[in-house]
């Protein structure tokens, strides 16, 4: 069974993940969900991703365009705007800085009992 992830932690970085994935290749909503599942985030549901895409579009970080589909209605493809690339760069730098700090703390060995305060 694949590992589950804290929804609150995921929610904090979902926008960054979406921007990164869409910067690599433009996609429509369901395809983005499949790509998230493919990298191991199988517990991210469609109902979380679609509003997140709508929010990024409203904020001007994603642009969308319709592409006719042979399988059904036209698909709405998303790709980052210039503001989206800026947000991705800034967000990724903040996230990497934070994870480096957190990793430094959490990778220390845990003592059997806390030392006494001085």
């Amino acid at each position: 069974m694949p590992p589950t992830h804290d929804p609150q932690l995921l929610k904090g970085v979902l926008s960054l993940l979406l921007l990164q994935l869409l910067a690599e290749r433009e996609s429509y909503g369901y395809e983005v969900v499949q790509r998230l599942h493919a990298i191991g985030l199988t517990d991210v549901l469609e109902g979380t991703v679609y509003p997140a895409l709508a929010r990024l579009e409203r904020e001007g970080r994603l642009a969308a365009h319709l592409v006719p589909s042979t399988a059904g209605p036209a698909r709405k493809y998303y790709l980052p705007t210039a503001a989206g690339y800026d947000a991705l760069a800034a967000g990724a730098a903040q996230w990497l800085s934070l994870t480096t700090l957190v990793h430094g703390v959490l990778s220390r060995p845990v003592p059997t009992s806390p030392s006494k305060g001085s």
Partner: protein
């Protein structure tokens, strides 16, 4: 290629899309239509892969989804509601119209009860401040009436009800939002 969703799955999907659409009435029409189309298209595609029932399950609760779409459109803070405004004002207008109409009929019927063959013109001042005066034209006990409309004060009260019920003051840009937008534009 995976088989097309069955008509039962298509019906299920349409029901979900319709339910979601009913909960997105506060959104601008174009955004509501765009979300509706996108969700339908994505659900149909997911139904190809994993079946309609599972596709709908993975979409989650439509109430929660609608709340997230509204938050995406308007932000996370407290919001106005055009639906609440519409319901409150429509209910108030219907109730008041019904009540004032009953009062107009009661006065006319009262005159006729006193004078079954009344003929002439009668006036009733109506409910003061709420309703304009009513003029009755009687001919052998049969009457017609004119007047009895809402007064300007009534319309002002209805406008106040509209603002209060829909919390429409939230449409005004707050000082904080204005300042943050200004800061963002300076950064940009």
């Amino acid at each position: 290629m995976a088989p097309s969703p069955s008509w039962v799955d298509r019906l299920r999907i349409e029901l979900v899309v319709w339910t979601l659409d009913q909960r997105l009435y506060d959104l601008p029409r174009s955004a509501r239509i765009a979300h509706r189309r996108e969700v339908r298209e994505n659900l149909l595609e997911a139904a190809h892969d994993i079946g309609g029932r599972e596709a709908i399950r993975r979409l989650g609760n439509s109430r929660q989804l609608a709340a997230e779409y509204r938050a995406a459109e308007f932000g996370d803070g407290p919001r106005h509601s055009w639906v609440a405004t519409g319901v409150a004002v429509a209910t108030a207008v219907l109730l008041m119209t019904s009540w004032l109409n009953e009062a107009i009929h009661a006065f006319g019927d009262g005159v006729r009860a006193g004078q079954p063959h009344a003929t002439g013109t009668f006036t009733w001042a109506g409910f003061r401040y709420v309703q304009s005066g009513v003029t009755y034209a009687f001919t052998d006990g049969q009457w017609t009436s004119t007047g009895g409309a809402f007064t300007p004060l009534t319309w002002i009260l209805l406008a106040a009800l509209a603002v209060a019920s829909g919390r429409l003051w939230r449409l005004l840009p707050s000082r904080g939002q204005g300042a943050s937008r200004e800061a963002a534009s300076q950064r940009g």
